[in-house]
């Protein structure tokens, strides 16, 4: 690939920061050459692993008879909890509440009980069905109603409070209360969970894992095998999607393959069938939110209280931080004079719910927007009017429920710009007029804002490392702790390094994330991938640059200020030297050409016990206007038009960022509209394949989809090139679709009643809401 390294001298480098550099693997993806784990050549002697799953949601295991499994064709070995050399715990919190294999009790339908290793995948799949399991059924807790009654928690609840909410609500001229149900969401990463373990010498093992969190997989595997972390190497080049579903959920599959590999001395691969994947792995939390709000006749919120009850599943997983983040976003962009918000992370006999793009934040925001909508309907105001009145201020009315001051608020201007450019008022009036003449097809429009906090709320996670080598020929090897799941992280970090060295991006080799190169990494999550890893890589590049500058200055007899990195070359005094030449000279002069970089996010701190601190470095803002048409006879609808104005700070790569906005929006729209998870009363997930679980298809995307990034608003905080994180916030722009549907439904009752449309707003739910509004407001019009 030496040919790829440009030697010419150009006036500008290719692929620097801020340009629309294509995804680094784009060519490989369109030619089928980009390899996912299942595409790699299989090691000789590979064993195929499959998991035996519980057929009960809650039961004692009286007997686990695996004789017929062992004697099934092709079976090499069978593993239960008794075969685990270390701790039978794959939970990210290491609370011993999430076994690799269940032992005396199963706690959800689909929980793994054992693993089979066979010569072929088909043989392994056949063998797991041979198990004879005697269960003694226990009463399962499946839904939130039962969970609230049982009141068993997987994590201690949290409360945020500022002012005296109860007193403020009581003293307010008006008040109302309600309950909102918010559905969960299956990640539906197209590449399912997968791991491939290769046994090494002594106690060593290498695991290729489709994970967002290689360091945690490393730690869990070591824990299972009872070896030190340094015996385990975890590597991931790319994932075929993750969205939070591979932040902790990859642990199980990696641990099972590592166990098989070390016990048998043969490589082992586990790719569950899609149905099994959906039954085994956790999803976005569904919530019930109880709210009470006190407000005045202008719609100003004077006090509000929220209780967020979440279905967490059988184990803690990330439910604590997820429900915390729901509270952190129960204000969205609104100032509450007095507020109390509490979480209730409840145990259920279902999959252990986990991270999903937004990490509880979306549910918090959906609740905030419902409250706004309720206030607007109570007063007969446009919800947008109520939104704008309650926005955070810039110098006053700027303290959040967690006592962080909002210092970078651009929401009022951003919303004003979108409202104007997309003609919200004109279109709203036109829609009202059209609806008056249309008995059955009703249109709706809504503008909703987003304010999303950036940083891990667990302060320790806000660190990152990077490793850069420059080889003698001037080519650069880049590694960092972030993982690539399509979001373009590798490309963006390479752009940053290219910009630092002023070399063409083609000179930089992006390499797979591995615990062997950068240790103790955080999950690529919380939208922080570029903020953290980009800064760490930038720092490594700056270290190397400083060494090259010192060398060039000394050898050229000039001051360091006279050494300037120009595109693909370096000016040393009056002389210009190609970058590669300087590097080879530096090598001969024994300058070290490898460096690590490290970054820790400044300013942040958080005290959960007192609900006080600065959990976020900054906020990302955005707003969307959605317009829909609803068939009030069937509940079916379509999204006609969406206008988005979003804040990426100074975008590192507008093409990639725009892709995140579009994709995040559509994924959020799926969550709030068609994606419905359905467990039956026995706790079986009945929507366990795309045949029954409807994620957006091409035809569902908005017919008109205008996406813009706000200009001239660099991040006020010192982020890498003043960019802003982009992974999660756009998902919440889709709340505008839910409210546009609500607006269309409300037209059936002449906008007098809040439809209280709960997501997911499936056509069935929309029809039910229409019926409810009709019943509450009188008979339907004559046809």
């Amino acid at each position: 690939m030496r040919d790829d390294i440009p030697t010419g001298i150009a006036s500008e480098i290719s692929g620097g920061a801020g340009v629309e550099q294509r995804h680094d693997s784009a060519r490989k993806h369109v030619t089928g050459q980009a390899r996912y784990i299942d595409d790699l050549p299989e090691p000789a002697g590979l064993l195929h692993v499959q998991l035996g799953l519980s057929a009960r949601a809650h039961a004692r295991i009286l007997a686990l008879d695996l004789d017929a499994v062992r004697s099934a064709p092709g079976v090499v070995a069978v593993f239960t909890a008794a075969d685990i050399p270390g701790a039978n715990d794959i939970g990210c919190m290491l609370r011993d509440d999430e076994p690799l294999f269940a032992t005396d009790t199963v706690r959800y339908h689909g929980q793994p009980l054992f693993a089979v290793a066979a010569e072929t995948r088909a043989q392994a799949r056949f063998a797991v069905t041979r198990a004879r399991i005697d269960y003694q059924d226990q009463e399962p807790v499946i839904d939130l109603t039962r969970a609230r009654a049982a009141a068993t928690r997987v994590w201690p609840p949290m409360t945020l409070a500022r002012g005296d909410a109860a007193a403020a609500i009581a003293a307010a001229p008006r008040r109302l209360s309600g309950r909102l149900r918010i559905g969960g969401q299956e990640h539906f990463y197209l590449e399912g969970q997968i791991a491939l373990a290769i046994p090494g010498e002594d106690d060593e093992v290498t695991v290729l894992s489709s994970t967002q969190h290689p360091s945690e997989v490393q730690h869990i595997v070591a824990h299972i095998l009872n070896v030190a972390d340094n015996a385990v190497t975890v590597e991931v080049r790319r994932m075929g999607g993750a969205f939070g579903g591979k932040e902790t959920q990859a642990n199980l599959f990696a641990a099972a393959t590592a166990l098989v590999a070390k016990a048998t001395g043969r490589a082992a691969k586990l790719r569950p069938d899609r149905d099994d994947d959906m039954a085994i792995t956790g999803k976005r939390h569904d919530f019930e939110v109880d709210y009470t709000v006190g407000f005045d006749d202008d719609g100003m919120i004077q006090g509000v209280s929220y209780l967020f009850a979440a279905r967490c599943g059988f184990a803690a997983d990330l439910s604590g931080p997820v429900t915390d983040r729901a509270l952190f976003h129960c204000d969205n962009g609104y100032y509450y004079d007095a507020v109390t918000a509490s979480s209730d992370p409840l145990m259920t006999n279902t999959v252990s719910n986990t991270a999903f793009r937004g990490f509880g934040g979306p549910q918090g925001m959906v609740a905030a927007e419902r409250v706004i909508e309720e206030v607007a309907f109570a007063l007969g105001l446009d919800p947008l009017t109520v939104r704008k009145r309650n926005f955070y201020g810039t110098t006053s009315r700027n303290v959040t429920p967690y006592h962080q001051v909002v210092e970078d608020n651009i929401l009022p201007e951003l919303v004003a710009e979108l409202e104007h450019s997309a003609d919200y008022a004109g279109r709203r009036a036109a829609i009202r007029a059209a609806n008056a003449a249309s008995p059955w097809l009703r249109r709706g429009i809504a503008l909703t804002p987003v304010k999303f906090g950036i940083a891990f709320t667990a302060t320790a996670y806000n660190q990152a490392g990077a490793l850069i080598h420059i080889y003698k020929d001037g080519s650069i090897h880049l590694n960092h702790g972030g993982t690539e799941m399509g979001q373009g992280l590798y490309t963006k970090v390479a752009q940053i390094v290219a910009a630092e060295f002023q070399v063409d991006i083609e000179r930089i080799r992006i390499t797979a994330t591995t615990t062997g190169k950068v240790p103790n990494t955080s999950a690529t999550a919380a939208s922080s991938g570029t903020d953290l890893n980009g800064k760490a890589a930038q720092q490594a590049a700056q270290t190397l640059k400083a060494r090259l500058v010192a060398f060039a200055a000394a050898s050229g007899g000039v001051s360091e200020d006279d050494v300037v990195f120009l595109p693909n070359r370096v000016r040393i005094g009056a002389r210009e030297t190609p970058f590669a030449t300087l590097v080879s000279q530096a090598y001969l002069a024994r300058v070290p050409l490898s460096a690590t970089g490290f970054y820790r996010t400044p300013k942040i701190h958080w005290d959960r016990a007192v609900g006080h601190g600065r959990p976020f470095l900054y906020f990302v803002y955005g707003a969307a206007i959605s317009e829909v048409t609803v068939d009030t006879l069937t509940g079916e609808y379509r999204v006609d038009r969406v206008d988005i104005l979003h804040d990426c700070g100074r975008s590192l790569n507008p093409a990639i960022d725009r892709g995140q906005i579009e994709g995040g929006f559509v994924q959020g729209m799926g969550w709030l509209t068609t994606e419905e998870l359905w467990w039956d009363s026995a706790g079986r997930l009945r929507t366990h394949a795309p045949s029954t679980y409807k994620i957006p298809a091409c035809g569902d995307r908005p017919a008109v989809f205008n996406v813009r990034m706000i200009e001239g608003r660099p991040n006020r905080e010192d982020t890498v090139f003043r960019s802003k994180a982009v992974g999660e916030p756009p998902l919440m722009l889709a709340i505008s679709v839910l409210h546009a549907l609500s607006d269309a439904i409300a037209s059936v009752g002449d906008h007098r009643l809040c439809p209280r449309l709960d997501p997911p707003a499936t056509p069935e739910a929309v029809l039910a809401a229409i019926e409810s509004v009709r019943q509450r407001t009188g008979p339907p019009p004559e046809p």
Binding site: Q33, R274, Q487, G663, P696
Partner: protein, 164 residues
């Protein structure tokens, strides 16, 4: 085990396969053509789409034996021998029609057939034509853009109908 003879990307191959072997497994495991992906195992997602005698088909839905004597084109067979991308591949790359890329090979193959069989491809036709291909990350916006551009490029420079 019966022997099947299939022309894949222009090369005729004969292999003994179990009767139940799916075409997708034949391509991936026997021929090492791993650009064709398995996303859902249940014929919903379209990550496994290939062309059989020029028609797009989900290769997890077809037995290898059913492809006996037929011509199959996979994503690996789309570019020219010298590496020049097929116009549809080039368009996906150019227009950022991918993020994590797992769906991309199936999308490109479906798009090629759609463009070939629809004389004047409209946005609506793309929306309808892609119902069988799921993408979880792009929101389809750039995919539609890429397909319209790719279809136009195919009109301008009709490509050699590889393996047909």
């Amino acid at each position: 085990m019966p022997t099947v003879t299939i022309t894949v990307n222009g090369n005729t191959v004969s292999r003994a396969v179990e009767g139940r072997t799916l075409l997708v497994h034949f391509l991936r495991e026997q021929l090492g053509l791993t650009g064709t992906h398995v996303g859902c195992d249940t014929s919903q997602c379209g990550a496994c789409v290939v062309l059989v005698d020029g028609r797009s088909i989900k290769s997890c839905t077809m037995l290898a034996a059913q492809a006996d004597g037929r011509e199959v084109t996979t994503i690996e067979g789309l570019a020219a021998a010298d590496g020049t991308l097929h116009p549809m591949q080039a368009a996906f790359r150019q227009h950022h029609g991918l993020q994590y890329g797992f769906c991309t090979p199936g999308m490109v193959m479906s798009a090629v057939e759609l463009a070939r069989t629809t004389p004047h491809l409209t946005e609506q036709a793309v929306r309808d034509g892609l119902e069988g291909n799921i993408c979880r990350c792009t929101g389809y916006h750039n995919i539609v853009k890429a397909i319209l551009a790719g279809a136009e490029a195919m009109q301008v420079e009709p490509v050699a109908q590889a393996a047909e």
